[in-house]
């Protein structure tokens, strides 16, 4: 049986499975279907309940992964087919083209500066974040290599004036490009790392066990939910997190979308995506309460005069230090109201939001005006869970998360022996729980069939 293990997903969970297993001595393939490892955590500003800076603590681990001789990082890579072989697995991976030679690219950013077209960033688009068609996923990305938006090649950005928009030849037909500014810029640097003609590459690996650490994604509110996508100043908690982040589109300045001014009164709607609305989440995502506590504390630390109100349901302060963190928010002057807002409308002149809610402790109906409204959205399964479950031959639960065979007696094991779960793949979870599960799943993965006969 092969000795290597495959870790699917390079977020904080996957990184820790990889590091544990690699330190243990196993060869690790760490795949991620995005261009960089790091996952959601790499884009957060702070972590509760200590307000540790997120990237400050994660980036050193990312570099450690990058420099570890036992770990092979495969970004932009999807798991396509898995078959059992010799007690282990043969896995067909598809490494999707970044149109960049990762070996040659040094992440110097010259290509990015040469690119004439800015498009909304995937994560920050709604709050004004842009990126070029050739871009770094984020400054600390690992591998530190640019990636080219596939739309650029297919001529889809022709209307927007992309530099290769006029070309009628399919990029895959060429081996050099006299038009693309990024190609030229990189050549001028003497690198020639931009390869617009690069194609997706399948590869097969053999492993003894697989750890699914694909994480989860923040729920995207439907248009109209508390005025989201209708009123400019209604944003999600993830967008607010990016506003707080010095590495975000505003450089850490908390400004509202409509007029780019600092809001003086901000409201948080907890459980915004829960089942109380049609199509809402039927479960508690458990981290949103602490995210709100964190965001209000940071807001108060930035500007103590900002009025902050959290409309909450049951308070989930379940973890170590969480209750103290909530108390810290209260001490900072954050107002917690047990209420479920049921209507939001916008003042067309000021673009302020008027929230109508019932105070569940008093039963009274109130109207309150906010300059910015943050929807605390829950966590939902990754988009590729279904496909991946099918490829791996494992089951999903009713919500779309990966299912454990026996959560109580054999946690993190699936119905297929040799395939294990950890982190957000199992459901809503916080960072430390992900790290714990990563160690646990890592142990199962490395020690599989290693039972010493005595």
């Amino acid at each position: 049986m092969p000795d290597a293990i495959l870790v699917i997903g390079g977020g904080v969970a996957g990184i820790h499975v990889a590091l544990n297993a690699a330190e243990y001595g196993s060869k690790v393939y760490l795949t991620d279907d995005t261009p960089s490892i790091g996952g959601i955590m790499a884009r957060l500003d702070k972590t509760f309940p200590t307000n540790d800076c997120s990237i400050c603590i994660e980036a050193p681990r990312m570099y450690e992964v990058d420099n570890h001789e036992n770990i092979e990082i495969l970004t932009n890579t999807e798991v396509r087919r898995v078959s059992r072989k010799n007690g282990g697995f043969t896995v067909r991976l598809l490494k999707k083209a970044k149109f960049i030679d990762e070996e040659k690219c040094t992440g110097c950013g010259t290509c990015i500066q040469a690119c004439p077209i800015s498009v909304p960033d995937e994560l920050d688009g709604k709050i004004g974040g842009t990126r070029k068609l050739v871009y770094m996923p984020f400054p600390q990305a690992v591998p530190s290599a640019s990636v080219i938006d596939t739309r650029c090649r297919a001529g889809k950005m022709r209307g927007e004036g992309a530099c290769i928009g006029g070309c009628v030849v399919d990029c895959s037909q060429c081996r050099e490009c006299p038009i693309a500014l990024c190609v030229k810029a990189c050549q001028k640097e003497g690198k020639n790392a931009v390869l617009l003609w690069q194609s997706d590459k399948p590869m097969d690996i053999e492993v003894k066990s697989i750890v699914v650490a694909t994480g989860l994604k923040p729920d995207d509110p439907e248009t109209g939910l508390y005025g989201y996508n209708v009123y400019e100043n209604v944003i999600t908690n993830v967008q607010f997190e990016r506003l707080m982040n010095a590495g975000g589109p505003t450089g850490g300045d908390i400004i509202r979308p409509s007029d780019k001014t600092h809001p003086h009164k901000i409201g948080w709607v907890q459980c915004a995506g829960r089942g109380l609305k049609e199509g809402g989440l039927p479960y508690c995502s458990k981290v949103c309460c602490m995210i709100a506590a964190k965001q209000t504390i940071i807001t108060k630390e930035h500007r103590p005069d900002v009025d902050t109100v959290v409309f909450h349901n049951d308070l989930k302060a379940y973890g170590k230090g969480f209750w103290g963190f909530y108390k810290k928010a209260v001490e900072h002057g954050v107002r917690y109201v047990r209420a479920h807002p049921y209507d939001v409308c916008e003042d067309p002149e000021t673009k302020n939001l008027i929230v109508k809610y019932e105070d569940l402790d008093t039963g009274e109906i109130h109207l309150e005006e906010f300059e910015l409204l943050v929807l605390s959205m829950g966590l939902v399964p990754g988009e590729r869970n279904k496909k991946l479950a099918k490829a791996l031959g494992i089951e999903l639960d009713g919500y779309g998360f990966f299912k454990e065979k026996d959560p109580l007696l054999h946690p993190l094991e699936t119905h297929v022996e040799g395939i294990y779960l950890c982190g957000g793949a199992t459901g809503p979870i916080d960072i430390s729980e992900s790290v714990i599960q990563a160690s646990a799943a890592g142990l199962k993965a490395v020690s599989r069939n290693s039972e010493v006969v005595r």
């Binding site: 600390q140 508690c284 959560p407 946690p411 714990i436 199962k444 039972e451």
Partner: protein, 687 residues
């Protein structure tokens, strides 16, 4: 090595046009050739390219270079590559110094190539000055054998033990009670998703597993008397019925569990026998001694979520599970659960629906208005304010169950002293890092899991036990732990034996070898330099960041135009990250600062700062991680205190304390660093 033997090679990278497009690299190389000890200097388009690395290796051999200075991007991403490269041609990697002229010069002074070039020259001069004093370092290996001590034989300890034994490690489980199983012994059933499992079944299954492995030794009725040593060579003494036994262990997993906080004097507990805790109720359910019960009341969040304790994490679920168990026995009893907030996550909420279907009533009371209980003639009367209805209720109770908080086991204080670890106010052990090191203690070789860390259910405990077993397995499987060569070294000839270093080391890496004779266990040392900066006798040196090296950099930087220069000491992890981010973001800031990298801001001592002022520096900046982040647990806190003291003493030495700045930047906060530099230049009137 005499100074004549020092042969420095300087390799300047153009980084395509990223450096070369701004800084006149050939000019810098020429300048470099004139620096003391430099025997070779060259440039390359991309120093990190395969051909340039080969060229670097050739040059080292050809010119007999024994100190390498790389002037390029940033050590945070590229130093490991160059270290590997020089190591491959037989040069000790600690004889390499990395100078950041892209992030610290060409990218942040793009509009002024001349200024950028001057700064690059200075930075290289500082690197070359340090290089003269570089000394060889070595990755230190400490052998670790394959025996693990597990303290506590509950579900956490048993799970960890089994999973260690699977791999062939020898495990000793020490349990205080007569029987393995811990808290589970007191619990009737454990509920998970949609089913209930008798906890005895879980214990039995775990015990059968343990029995399968001859490499597991179980001591029951046994307590730990003493633990001494460190990873790889712990000596453990246990005692049982008056007899003592001593054995070796390489790693230790603490799985001492948790206990209920006894609600003495609260809600008539202790006064009326019908007032019990949830665990006592489990006993009563098992004994099947409950009868004649018509009114059952449970009060949740007893001793939880108050000034001293947080959420107990399991109480809501436990109360509902037990209410359902009571419903099975007493089909017609009235059952109330009085709660503040329901902390049930993901699918746990389903149990609420089951409870409601079973006729169990939930009443929410306000956070600041707990129910009151009266006991008269053995009759209990509960008064509760129902938030929903906005009025007070009175209800009789034949059985009042208090869902009380959990705290660390009573042995916590003892274990804390034996292992020299800490715990929080709730009696739970303190992990190395709450997010990324949840199962590790700060000192290598010590791990924790389960209820010893914080209150939790069986599933989470099992996961933590598996995780702790993984963490403990790594050094035992490798057979050693390895420390980076950046470590402390004590010169005993000068040492007064004051013990400050022994007390302050966050990793317990400095021990007493004999009286007044501290010794650094190098494999445990993380190289932060806190001990060196605090040593009153200056007897501690840090490899790669010695006083001589740091002072050489200060002196080189201030050789010319000191009155226009700021000396900045920045920590490798966060402040350097912020500097790099400022570079990546092309944030332009005044060019006065000359940065000196240290691993932790705690490495910077008064003498480094004062030396800069003696040489006429316009200002000094000390930058570390933003609180509460510190990669060495407490380094930035210590640095802040120390710099406060330095500031206080500066007037006595004739220096203006306003010229010493401290700043704490997260690794993402390039703008903050750039702003500090702008503010400093302004306040210090620098041109």
């Amino acid at each position: 090595m005499s100074e004549d033997d020092i042969r420095v090679g300087v390799f300047v990278c153009n980084c395509g046009s990223n450096i070369g497009g701004i800084v006149n690299v050939p000019e810098v190389v020429e300048y470099t050739k004139g620096l003391k000890n430099v025997v070779f200097a060259d440039e390359s388009k991309w120093s990190c390219s395969v051909d340039a690395l080969a060229q670097l290796q050739n040059s080292i051999k050809e010119h007999n270079i024994n100190r390498v200075v790389i002037a390029a991007c940033t050590p945070r991403t590229h130093e490991p590559l160059f270290k590997r490269t020089v190591k491959a041609v037989g040069l000790n990697p600690y004889l390499l110094e990395f100078v950041s002229i892209r992030e610290q010069s060409s990218w942040v002074h793009m509009n002024n190539p001349q200024v950028a070039a001057e700064k690059a020259k200075d930075l290289i001069k500082m690197g070359v000055a340090k290089a003269a004093f570089l000394e060889e370092g070595e990755e230190i290996k400490l052998p670790v054998k394959t025996d693990c001590l597990v303290i506590g034989g509950g579900v956490a300890g048993m799970t960890a033990a089994q999973n260690l034994a699977i791999q062939g490690f020898n495990v000793t489980v020490v349990e205080r009670e007569a029987k393995l199983g811990g808290l589970l012994n007191r619990v009737g059933e454990i509920s998970s998703d949609d089913r209930e499992i008798p906890s005895q079944e879980i214990i039995k299954a775990k015990m059968e597993q343990l029995a399968k492995y001859p490499n597991i030794k179980v001591y029951t009725n046994t307590t730990i008397k003493d633990v001494s040593g460190y990873i790889g060579n712990y000596k453990v003494t246990v005692q049982s019925n008056g007899t003592e036994e001593t054995f070796d262990a390489s790693t230790v997993i603490v799985a001492t569990g948790m206990q209920e906080v006894e609600p003495v004097g609260q809600f008539c507990y202790g006064e009326n026998p019908r007032v019990v805790t949830q665990l006592q109720l489990e006993d009563l359910l098992k004994q099947n001694t409950l009868d004649n019960i018509e009114h059952i009341v449970m009060i949740n969040c007893v001793n939880s979520m108050n000034e001293t304790r947080g959420c107990c994490n399991i109480g809501c679920h436990v109360s509902i599970k037990n209410a359902l168990a009571l419903r099975e026995r007493f089909a017609h009893a009235k059952i109330y659960i009085l709660f503040r907030t329901l902390c049930l996550v993901k699918e746990e909420r389903r149990i609420v629906e089951r409870a409601k279907d079973a006729g169990i009533k939930f009443i929410r009371f306000p956070d600041d208005r707990y129910p009151e209980v009266q006991s008269e003639n053995n009759h209990l009367l509960v008064k509760v304010y129902d938030t929903l209805l906005g009025r007070e209720f009175r209800m009789p109770a034949d059985l009042l169950v208090l869902t009380t908080a959990f705290e660390g086991d009573k042995s916590v204080d003892e274990v804390k002293g034996q292992l020299k670890v800490s715990s929080n106010a709730e009696g739970f052990f303190q992990e190395a890092h709450i997010k990324l090191g949840p199962l590790d203690f700060p000192a290598d070789g010590l791990f924790l899991c389960g209820g010893a860390r914080s209150p939790k259910n069986v599933k989470d405990t099992t996961e933590e036990a598996l995780g702790a077993a993984m963490r403990a397995s790594i050094p035992m499987k490798r057979g050693y732990i390895e420390a980076d060569g950046i470590v402390a070294d004590i010169n005993l000839a000068e040492c007064s034996g004051c013990g400050i270093c022994v007390d302050n080391c966050p990793y317990g890496a400095i021990k007493w070898a004999a009286e007044k004779e501290p010794v650094v266990i190098k494999a445990l040392c993380k190289g932060c330099g806190l001990c060196a900066a605090d040593c009153p006798k200056n007897t501690i040196s840090i490899v790669h960041f010695s006083d001589r090296q740091l002072l050489a950099m200060v002196e080189a930087a201030l050789e010319e135009n000191p009155s226009q220069k700021i000396i900045g000491f920045i920590c490798h992890w966060c402040c350097h990250g912020a500097v790099d981010m400022a570079g990546v973001g092309r944030m332009q800031y005044p060019p006065n600062v000359r940065l000196i990298r240290v691993m932790c801001s705690a490495r910077v001592s008064a003498k480094h700062v004062l030396r800069a002022f003696e040489l006429g520096a316009a200002g000094v900046f000390v930058g570390g991680c933003e609180f509460p982040t510190c990669h060495y647990i407490v380094g930035n806190y210590k640095a802040e205190k120390r710099m406060d003291r330095v500031k206080k003493n500066m007037p006595k030495k004739g220096f203006d304390p306003e010229k010493l700045w401290v700043g704490w930047c997260s690794a993402a906060d390039g703008p903050k660093f750039a702003n500090i530099m702008r503010d400093m230049a302004k306040k210090l009137n620098l041109g």
